[in-house]
């Protein structure tokens, strides 16, 4: 279980995070929601090592860990899929999946090993791509999103952070990506989903954590919560 407690971060005069806590148990999809400026991305950046919080603690299985940079986070098994996907559109699916961690011997690429691993992974995730050796530029938005998510799994992570994975997708492709998120959960991964789309959040998450003005503003089990109560927590209408 990965747990962030009492995280605070100040940018100049703005208190972006003020004692925020977040629990990420394995095999559970946690949705992080909140209005613009609520501190969602700051919290995610603190967990993925892009920024260092001013105070607070991150623990893994109750042991405190130090996440000073993105590399630390990856070494601890925290994998982030950014909203812009960070794919090389001129390379094929295999090359993108293993980018920067190519299987190789004396610098010679192990094409066959990498393609085998790619096909196995995509089959497990039930990602359907007709030809995995065409440049990623030729894939649909949903397929690209799936490739980016599959790529996050290459280092055998414990936590996958997804930043607005459905923002740019149509209805059918959104459904595919939500299915993929459920399969990540079924693999026993902790999933942190940042999304503006409450319909997606309600469809796929197990728990919803609401941030408002840099503070925890509510914690719901998705199955029990109504849309109205979540919206009220986001806007502060309930308070």
């Amino acid at each position: 279980m990965i747990r962030a407690t009492d995280i605070s971060k100040r940018y100049g005069a703005v208190q972006a995070l003020d004692g925020v806590g977040l629990d990420l148990p394995p095999g559970e999809v946690v949705a992080l929601v909140g209005d613009n400026g609520a501190g969602k991305s700051t919290l995610v950046k603190a967990i993925s090592g892009v920024i260092s919080p001013d105070s607070g603690q991150i623990t893994m299985d109750d042991r405190p860990v130090r996440i000073g940079n993105p590399h630390d986070a990856q070494a601890l098994g925290i994998s982030t899929v950014y909203q812009d996907l960070a794919l090389c559109e001129n390379l094929d699916v295999v090359a993108n999946l293993f980018l920067g961690s190519e299987r190789r011997r004396w610098s010679v690429l192990g094409h066959i090993r990498m393609e085998r691993a790619t096909r196995d992974l995509l089959t497990q995730l039930d990602v359907r791509i007709h030809d995995i050796r065409v440049p990623v530029a030729m894939l649909s938005g949903g397929q690209r999103q799936s490739v980016a998510i599959a790529r996050a799994l290459i280092g055998e992570p414990r936590l996958v952070i997804l930043d607005e994975p459905t923002a740019a997708l149509g209805v059918e492709q959104t459904a595919q990506v939500l299915d993929l998120i459920r399969r990540l959960r079924d693999r026993g991964l902790a999933v942190l989903l940042i999304s503006h789309n409450l319909a997606d959040v309600r469809a796929v998450s197990d728990r919803v954590t609401v941030l408002r003005l840099g503070r925890n503003a509510g914690e719901f089990r998705t199955a029990d919560a109504s849309q109205e109560s979540i919206v009220a927590a986001i806007t502060g209408a309930a308070a």
């Binding site: 960070a86 559109e89 390379l91 980018l99 920067g100 085998r116 196995d120 089959t123 007709h130």
Partner: protein
């Protein structure tokens, strides 16, 4: 296996897919091959000498130097950058080599090695200015274009021309011809290695339960290579034989292609050219890749300049000047290397220089005025860039 049903084996493109790809502007090497056929027909019918073994051998000799420079240009184009100094660097390093060899009496191989190393240092300097200071590569290498030309003139001094002895090692480079048996052995070995690697790859893929293409397709490809090589050897054999210069250039093309496609370094070159930010986030040292590309570009330019000096058996104030740089860039782009980075193979240098050089050669045979030659060459370059731009727009969507 469910994977094999999910990912059907890659087949040669059906006509429908081919049209779809063509519509997107992704035409592969076919426009270039078509262009070469058209050039052969047009010039062949206008001048009976154009397709003669003697002229085709001259063409092969003319190609090697500029083609090698073009290979270097491809290294930086793959990153979406440009190297405008390649022409000047080629001239400068040829002068360095000649002065060391002729005036200082150095061993020619050592002189060549030092000159290529000097080129690499020039590339390193330009690469550092680009990566560390963040100067646009266009400006860095534009300064290089003029600056290295200046250094060349300074080194040549008053006399302006240094001749290489005709029977010396350097001049002999471009006047050495493979004996028939070794030319045929080489062609046979290349076909054998290529066919063998196709078979081996098929076997390994099947062992890993990966889809494989149809067997006849491997046979067609190996057979095609055998045909092309046999035709080339036959034609060249009818004149003086296969020139060593062509073998050197061909080796560089093949080796660099293997490096780009089968090593981590090559993969990272394409990655940086495709999306530098994504490459950086994936943990690739983008700065190092960029430096290496500029070093490679300048070193290849240096070697190309040495080949040009060998053919001329001299260096002079116009070494590496005039239209060599533009020809090298045009060849890379015509061969299918994208100006926008991340797309292209080293065979672009071979195909592109073949197109450019045969147009130039054909028009020289027809006594076309240089004014017209420039305009035609420019039009071919513009056409190639237009196709590249359309392909980019098509895939960006």
């Amino acid at each position: 296996m469910s994977t094999t049903t999910m990912n059907p084996p890659r087949r040669p493109y059906s006509p429908k897919q081919a049209i779809e790809r063509a519509r997107r502007g992704d035409l592969g090497a076919w426009p270039v091959v078509g262009g070469l056929v058209a050039i052969a027909i047009v010039f062949g019918s206008l001048n009976e000498h154009f397709l003669s073994p003697e002229n085709l051998t001259n063409l092969a000799l003319q190609m090697a130097a500029t083609g090698t420079i073009s290979l270097g240009i491809i290294m930086v184009l793959l990153l979406g950058e440009i190297d405008l100094s390649a022409g000047s660097v080629s001239g400068l390093c040829a002068v360095v080599m000649t002065i060391l060899n002729v005036r200082q009496g150095w061993n020619p191989v050592l002189a060549i090695a030092v000159a290529v190393a000097a080129g690499a240092v020039v590339g390193l300097v330009q690469g550092l200015l680009f990566t560390r200071i963040g100067m646009p590569s266009f400006v860095v290498t534009l300064a290089g274009l003029i600056g290295w030309q200046g250094l060349l003139l300074y080194l040549l001094g008053e006399r302006g021309t240094v001749n290489l002895p005709f029977d010396g090692f350097v001049a002999k480079l471009s006047d050495t011809w493979l004996p028939p048996w070794s030319a045929w052995t080489l062609a046979l070995a290349l076909t054998g290695v290529y066919g063998g690697s196709l078979l081996l790859s098929r076997r390994l893929r099947r062992a890993a339960d990966l889809p494989v293409g149809p067997a006849y397709w491997a046979a067609v490809r190996a057979g095609g290579l055998a045909l092309v090589l046999a035709a080339a050897v036959l034609v060249l054999q009818a004149d003086r034989g296969v020139p060593l210069l062509l073998v050197i250039f061909g080796t560089l093309v093949v080796v660099l292609d293997l490096v780009l496609r089968h090593t981590a370094f090559g993969r990272w070159m394409y990655a940086v050219g495709g999306n530098a930010e994504a490459a950086r986030r994936a943990g690739i040292n983008v700065t190092r890749i960029r430096l290496l590309a500029f070093v490679l570009s300048a070193a290849l330019a240096a070697f190309g300049g040495i080949l040009a000096a060998s053919r001329l058996a001299a260096v002079n104030q116009s070494s590496g000047g005039s239209d060599i740089l533009l020809m090298a860039i045009a060849a890379a782009v015509i061969g299918g290397t994208s100006l926008f980075g991340g797309r292209g193979r080293t065979y672009a240098a071979l195909l592109g220089i073949l197109v450019i050089q045969s147009i130039t050669n054909g028009m020289l045979l027809l006594n076309v005025d240089s004014s017209v030659r420039y305009m035609v060459t420019a039009s071919v370059l513009a056409l190639a860039v237009a196709i590249d731009s359309l392909a980019r727009r098509g895939s960006a969507r």
